[in-house]
C-alpha cells in the first residue's frame, strides 16, 4: 500500500498550496513595493522548480542528466540576458 501512495506528489501539492498562500499575502497585507515584489519573485521561482520536479517528473527518467543540463543552461542564459540587459540599458548607461 505504501508504494501505491504518491507521497512525494502530495507533499509537493501541499507545498505549492503554501507557496500560493504566501504569494497571496502580498495582496492582503500592507507592505512596501520592494517587499511585495521580492516575495512574488521568490515564491514564483520556487513554485516553478516544484512543478518541474514533482509534477513534470524531471528527475525520474533516464534522461535526467540531459533534462537538468538543459534547465541549468536555460537558467544561466536567462540570468545573463536579464542582468546583461539591466547593466547595458540602466546601470551602465551614461
Amino acid at each position: 500500500m505504501k508504494e501505491l501512495f504518491p507521497a512525494k506528489q502530495v507533499i509537493g501539492f501541499v507545498f505549492s498550496l503554501i507557496l500560493t498562500a504566501v504569494a497571496l499575502t502580498v495582496y492582503f497585507l500592507d507592505m512596501s513595493f520592494e517587499m511585495g515584489i521580492t516575495i512574488l519573485l521568490v515564491t514564483a521561482f520556487i513554485q516553478a522548480a516544484l512543478q518541474l520536479v514533482f509534477f513534470m517528473h524531471a528527475g525520474e527518467s533516464e534522461d535526467k542528466k540531459a533534462i537538468y543540463t538543459n534547465v541549468y543552461y536555460g537558467i544561466a542564459i536567462a540570468l545573463v540576458t536579464v542582468f546583461g540587459t539591466l547593466l547595458t540599458l540602466i546601470w551602465g548607461y551614461m
Binding site: 540576458t81 547593466l87 540599458l89 551602465g92 551614461m94
Partner: protein, 648 residues
Amino acid sequence: MEFFERFAIPHPSPLIYASMVAIGLTLIAIVIGITYFNKWGYLWREWLTTVDHKRIGIMYMISALLMLFRGGADAVMMRLQTAVPDNAFLDAQHYNEVFTTHGVVMIFFMAMAFVIGLMNFVVPLQIGARDVAFPRLNAISFWLYFAGAMLFNISFVIGGSPDAGWTNYFPLAGTDFSESVGVNYYMWSLQISGIGTLMTGINFIVTILKMRAPGMKLMKMPMFTWSALITNVIIVFAFPVLTIALLMGTFDRQFGTHFFASTNGGMDMLWANLFWVWGHPEVYILILPAFGIYSEIIATFSQRNLYGYKSMVGSMVIISFLSFLVWVHHFFTMGHGALVNGIFSITTMAIAVPTGIKIFNWLLTMWKGKIRFTVPMLYSLGFIPLFTIGGVTGVMLAIASADYQYHNTMFLVAHFHNVIIPGVVFAMLAGLTYWWPKMFGFMLNERIGKWGFWFLSIGFVFAFFPMYITGLDGQARRMYTYSEATGFGPLNMLSFFGAGLMAIAFALIVYNVYYSFRHSPRNVGMDPWNARSLEWATQNPVPEYNFAVTPVVNSSEAFWDSKKNGHQLFKDKITKIHMPNNSGMPIILAGFFFIFGFSFVFSIWIGVIVSALGILGTMAYRSFENDHGRYISEEEIKETEKEYGGAK
C-alpha cells in the same frame, strides 16, 4: 475599390511594375507547365505532403537557392546604384527597401534555410536513424518557413517592402517614421518562419539525443552532427527572444503600445538590445553547421581522421555559451559607459580563441594528408584564409574604443560579409556538392564547379575588400549615394565588378546542376568520395528507409572502420520497417498561417479570425487523428536493395 487601395505600393517605380508583370507571368507559366505535364498529383503525393527528412531537406535547399537569387539580385542592384557617384538608378526610399530586403532574405530565408536543409538531409543519415524524431512536425517547420518567406517576398509588390534595415531598429521602425505596412510584413513573416525554426530546433535535439544508432555514444558522433546538436540548442534558447521582440514590435505598430517608443515610458534601445540578444547567437547558428561541414570535408579529402575531435566539440560548446554573452558589441556607440563596453569587448575577443582552435585543428588535419582538390575541398581551402581575415577584422571591431571609427561604416559591411560568405555560403555550396550524390545519385561536374568556385572567390575579394578601405575613409553603410568629392567612386566601381563576378558564379553553379543532370553518369556507387562517416554506408540516392538494416557503430568514422579495419556495420537481417505516413496537414496549416500573416499585416480582422480558426481547426484535427504509420515489407526492401545492385 476603397478596400483595395491599401494594397497599392506607396513608392512605385518602373522596376517594381516590371517585377509585378514578371511575377504574374512566372506564376502562370508554372501553373500551366505543371498542368500540361500532368504533375499535380505527383507533386502533391511525393513532395508537398512528404514527411521524409530527405525530401524536406531538398525542398529547403531549393527554396534557399531561390532566395539566394532574390537576395543576390538585390545585392547587384545596390552595387550598381553605388558604382558611380550621384547615381540615379535607385532613389533613397527604394534603396532602403532593397537593402532591407537583401538582409532579411539572405539571413532568414537563404542562410537559415540552407543550414536547416543540410541538417535535415544529413543528420538522420549520419546517426543511422530512419527519420527525425517528429517527421510531421518537421514538415510543419518547413511549410511555416516557406509561408513566412513567401509572405516577405510579396511585400514589394503588395503594400510596399519594409525599409528600416534588416535590424529594424525602433523608433525608425515605429509607425511615426515607417507609415506603410512594410514593417508589419517584417514582423509577421519572421514570426511565422521563426516558429518553424524553433520547432526544428526541438525536433533535432530530440532526434540527436534519442535516435542514434546502437554504439554511437555522444563522443562518437560525426562532427557535423555535433555541430547540428549545438546549433539547435542555440536555436531553442535564442529564438524565443526574437519571437517576443517581434510580438512587442507588432503591438507597438498595430495596437498602440509603447514598448519601443521614445515617449510614454517606452525604451527605444530595448528593441536593439533584444534583437541582438537573439541576433548574435543567430550568427553562430549559421556558422557552427558550416564548421561541421568543413570538418567532414577536410577530413575526407585529406584522407586523415579529424585532428582534435574532443577540442572541436569543446570549442563548439564554449562558443555556444559565449555567443550569448557578447550581444552588446553590436551597439557599442549607443551611449553606455566604459565598463559595459569593456566587459562586452573582452567577451567578444574571447570567442576568437575557440574559433582559432578550430582553424588550427583543420590545418593539422591537412598536415601530411593526401589532399585531393575536389570542389568541396576547394571551398574549404578557400574558407580558411578568407574566414581568418574576416575573424581578424572582427577582433578589430571588438575593440570598443576603435569601434567608434568603424561603427555603421562599410568596414562593418565588409567584415560581416567576409565571415558570412566564405564561412556560411562557401560551406553550403561545399556541402551541397559533397552530399549531392547522396541526394540524387550522380555527381556534379567538377570542372564547372571549379570555375564556379574561382569566380565566387575572386568576385568576393573584389566585391568586399574595397569596402574595408572606403569604410575606414568614412563611407557610411546604407547610404544610397555619395558625391564625387568623397573619392569613393573607383573602389565602389571595383565592388560592383566583384558583384558581377559573383553573379556569374551563381549562374555557373545553377548551370552545373542542369549540365550534370543531363550528362553525369548514374553509376557512382555508394562511396564516390572515399568518405568516412556513416551516411555513406547506404545507397545513392538514399532509399526512403535510409538503412535496410540498422547499423552498429563503434567510432565517429564508422564507415571508414568498415572499409579499412574490418568493422561489421550491419549485423542484423533485413526485417520489415516502420515508416510515418505522408500528410497534407502541414501545408494546409502553413496556408492558414500565410493568410493569417497577410491579413494581420493589413489589419483585415475578418481574415485574421477566419484563418486563426483554420489554424486551430487543423491542430484539433491532428489531435483526434489516428495515424499509426505503415510498414515497408521485407520483400519490398530486398527488391529495392537488389535494384541498387548491392544485396547485403
